[in-house]
Amino acid sequence: MLTSVPTHDLTVEEFCRLADEGAFGPNARVELLDGEVFEMLPIGPFHAYSNRYLTNYFAWIGKGRWLVDMQNPVLLNNRSQPQPDFTLLRDLGEEYSTRHPGPADIILLVEVSENSLRFDQGRKLATHAKAGIREYWIVNLVKLWVEVYRQPSPAGTYDSVTRKQGEDLIVPEAFPDATMQVSKLLGR
């Protein structure tokens, strides 16, 4: 722990109540991770490009095997409700109209990362692993590569970590035909 004094945890329910009260302002983009509220940073064109590429590519190649989602909330546990840049979800018909997707529903979770790398590689990664998110990608816009994390462990780490860049192909473990080239994903 960075500091010896714990921050006060909010539950998802308290967080939603605060949001409903307007506590975060009309234009706030906030998410809850391990009981603490974080700002979602503004998205520049480079970041938006990758978000859009992932969404359009996976939607086109999906053929009904999954749903694509961009920046909607996922409910990881009682203290965490982040809004990942991109997720591939199991198609459950109308079920998500009554609840947010949870770890069992998430085939792939992607964060496109420029100014929040340490956070995405650190606290977010640990939370995802503990929640059992089976595959987590960080599209690293600073280094121009994609970090592929698989085999989450309850200790808060991923046992398999690889890095792909340039003409390397990346693919979700669950669907080996859904390959894409890193340079295409980044647009450079």
Partner: protein, 187 residues
């Protein structure tokens, strides 16, 4: 590589009070707001309490109306920070700050008694107090049985002078040199 801090959402004092009003923070919650983040205050063991109990008369007896002693009461540092230091010596006011909590310019001396919270008191709290211009900040280090005296707050979030004092030494705040406290008397 520039290391950026996590993008914490920083609550304002107003939002913090509102959370209390709507029951998200319990009325008896031991929490404080520092730099927009809400911290749970750690439980206080008997050694900690005994040191506080010794400090009360030591800080009060020579006041002669020149200051008011407050225990575990808020100081309003700025719009994002309202900690509850263990003790503050503040400017006298007839209404005893009934309308508004003391501001940094009202504080002669601020004291934190620290055991498990020592790294926090030396880092996050020190930075906040220095940035706010709290003139003098003492950390009573329970484990080492010493007192760390910080003076000369700088706008970069540091104090320009720091000294450590142990049993056998006598300390006094710069504002009131006659308020003399023997470190041995604290433990």
């Amino acid at each position: 590589m520039r290391v950026e801090p996590p993008p914490y959402h920083r609550f304002t004092v107003e939002e913090y009070y509102r959370m209390g009003e709507v029951g998200i923070l319990a009325p008896d919650a031991r929490v404080e707001l520092l730099d927009g983040r809400i911290y749970d205050m750690l439980p206080v063991g008997p050694f900690h309490s005994s040191v506080e109990s010794r400090l009360v008369p030591l800080l009060s007896s020579t006041a002669k109306g020149r200051w008011i002693v407050r225990g575990q009461s808020p100081v309003h540092l700025n719009d994002g920070s309202e900690p509850l230091p263990d003790f503050t010596l503040v400017k006298p006011r007839a209404d005893h700050y009934k309308q508004k909590h003391p501001r940094p310019e009202d504080v002669f001396l601020l004291v934190e008694v620290a055991r498990t919270s020592l790294p926090f008191d030396r880092k996050a709290k020190l930075i906040a107090y220095a940035l706010a211009g709290i003139a003098e900040y003492w950390i009573v280090n329970l484990k080492a049985k010493s007192v760390e005296v910080h003076r000369g707050p700088l706008p970069i979030g540091e104090y320009s002078q720091m000294s450590r004092h142990k049993k056998g030494e006598v300390i006094a705040p710069a504002a009131f040199p006659d308020l003399q406290i023997a470190v041995a008397d604290l433990f």
